[in-house]
Amino acid sequence: MGGEIEGGERRLGRVLSFGIPDTALGLVMGYVEDPWDRDAISLVCRHWCRIDALSRKHVTVAMSYSTTPERLFRRFPCLESLKLKAKPRAAMFNLISDDWGGSASPWIRQLSATFHFLKKLHLRRMIVSDDDIAVLVRAKAHMLVSLKLDRCSGFSTPSIALVARSCRKLETLFLEESAIAEEENDEWIRELATHNTVLEMLNFYLTDLRASPEYLTLLVRNCQRLKTLKISECFMPDLVSLFRSAQALQEFAGGAFEEQDQPVAIRNYENYYFPPSLHRLGLLYMGTNEMQILFPYAAALKKLDLQFTFLSTEDHCQIVQRCPNLETLEVRDVIGDRGLQVVAQTCKKLQRLRVERGDDDQGGLEDEQGRISHVGMMAVAQGCPELTYWAIHVSDITNAALEAVGTFSRNLNDFRLVLLDREANITELPLDNGVRALLRGCTKLRRFAFYVRPGALSDVGLGYVGEFSKSVRYMLLGNVGESDNGILQLSRGCPSLQKLELRGCFFSEHALAMAALQLKSLRYLWVQGYRASATGSDLMAMVRPFWNIEFIAPEEDEPCPELKKQILAYYSLAGRRTDCPPSVTPLYPAF
């Protein structure tokens, strides 16, 4: 009988699939933008899969070695927008050697030749050569609307000049934090300023690229639709006429001020002009003497980036209390508990809060008050109920603080906590119960990072993480657990976990392999700091089809090579990597 019902449902499914004309199906799918929904649609039947494939406009390949460009084109020949990521996140922390891989060449060759509708390309943490850019420009210059080289390396400024000269339709040029050779050569900004009239976003924030204020001003005059301008260092007094011209500008970041303690007369920034449309701001190297530049505009600000400023705790308080409309705030921990209390009192609309790690080295020169504890955390949890993203580096913590997050921050979908190592004693450890309360309360959580110190999360706590993170897809855990039992407990839960990063946990290879097999949604695993076997052979327990396992050996001259070893494992339809440098050893038998 059960069989009959099953059979009936299956027949019904087919009727539904085939009953809708393809055109109608394609049109309906056009309104489904969420990639997760699209994935679900494509699994209904082969027919729906094909309609989805033909109507999909954007795809993100989270790991460029997980498929091949040819395969991607075969399935999605009509793509208009593609995002590719390669190097592990650890590359942003200098933990991945430069020769690891992640070349964009095979992708750019294929998409230049075949993806006829492609107009937006976003490459993140990849190596992009000047040749790659030349090939791309030759094929796509007439239609490229958006080019993002996001934390990439391998190319030089003449290539940017080529893009600027050739891609007249370019609306978005994004180069944030990319390492670009020949940074002194500023021909690229002249090309961009004189050839482009449609640019809406220019971002070369946190790069060493040079851009003269004159050409930047020309660019702003020529590109009347420019909404976002994030630049490298550039003296603020030289940008006065730029801001006078930029009547559509909504976001600005970059700039530079005089160095402190200079004999030159301190400039008065009180009357500095920003266009009234400007709502998002981040000023490099702003100090106490210059922060008045913000005051007249503070009440209108929705986003404020103070990560790269010289402000004290008190300065942060002064600024934040003038910003009641902030939706995004990015600071270093120098803001202190006191600053966070002001945030909690003032910023009732805050949705995104990032508190980065400041200078906590011994002899660091940050403000004495600049440390965050459970006090600041609890204040923010109670004061800012709209938070969806919250990343915080704390020096001290209690279970109650995490419980407060679980109680009040019900909208969080991304929570990341790092417990710094500068304080010898932490008020309350372990944090098992706090983590349980947090995960129980924050049911919308999709991403969760918990980087603490040994003893801060026991095996029992890891069991809670497994049990209560039902919808978490990405997780980073550092220095957690006591034994292999911890990771095994965790792997019994976490049904949605796709990407797991572990650091300093000292689980055995065997336990890691068992966990990888048990986590049913897992498709990406990165581990550094584990209990390695002599030959790495225990990792072979997780061998299975389409599961690439790579062992990354540290450079020989590094101290403590045992601790620097990394494991990277990921699902791949592309088979074995063919471009492994000597430091990367593929451990799996080829399938």
């Binding site: 200098n94 934090e177 530079a256 005089e258 190297y285 990560q307 080295d361 020169l365 010898a424 650091r503």
Partner: protein
């Protein structure tokens, strides 16, 4: 041994440094075996020393010398204090049997290889223990094994927090600005001078080396 000490002095003992304890315990074990002539191990030994000889010898340099296969399971069991009683009982029983025969099964894990002896003489086991004691002192793998048994170790100072590249570059620049008296020409050519003060993109020393060692005190 680490976990066993936790049973006797919960929590506070856990903070003691682990390095070197292995060698000390092996020494104690040797001394005891010499005194007792390998006969009639008292319960106190089972509590204080044998787990060390049994499981922790196992730790050193991937070398696991276990008097009996069950010793393997103690690594997991020791995490749960409520089970400590049964654990000790088992070990006592085992220890009482072994000296009588003066021969016992022995399993050695070393260098990724496993060797099993069904019938191993006690004095030879003693010699192996001495070898282990010699090679195991200050061994990082021993420290790691201790950690797996539930105790944070000093070894973790070698895994400091990594700092985001963008922030590290900024903080270096900040330090330079606050400490150095490098003049900064505040003219229209300022943008040039700002780039000239930039640190190199590549750092010759690993950035994480500067982190303090407070972590070990946790």
């Amino acid at each position: 041994m680490a976990a066993d000490e936790q049973h006797q002095q919960p929590a506070s003992a856990a903070k003691a440094a682990a390095t070197g304890r292995f060698a000390v315990t092996c020494g104690l074990l040797r001394q005891y075996m010499r005194e007792q002539g390998g006969r009639c191990l008292a319960p106190a030994v089972a509590m204080g020393l044998m787990p060390a000889g049994g499981t922790d010898a196992a730790a050193a340099a991937d070398l696991q010398a276990a008097a009996a296969p069950e010793a393997e399971t103690t690594a997991v069991l020791e995490l749960f204090p409520q089970q400590a009683g049964t654990l000790k009982d088992e070990q006592q029983i085992r220890k009482r049997k072994e000296p009588a025969a003066e021969r016992a099964p022995l399993t050695i894990f070393y260098g990724g290889k496993m060797v099993v002896f069904d019938d191993f003489p006690a004095e030879k086991a003693d010699e192996i223990m001495q070898l282990v004691a010699g090679s195991g002192t200050g061994n990082t793998t021993a420290a790691q094994q201790n950690n797996a048994l539930g105790q944070p170790t000093a070894g973790l100072t070698d895994m400091p927090l990594a700092r985001k590249v963008s922030l590290r570059r900024f903080l270096e620049k900040r330090k330079n600005r606050l400490t150095a008296a490098d003049p900064y020409p505040a003219s229209t050519a300022a943008s040039e001078s700002t780039t000239s003060t930039k640190p190199a993109v590549k750092q010759e020393a690993a950035p994480w080396l500067g982190v303090n060692s407070a972590l070990s005190l946790s």
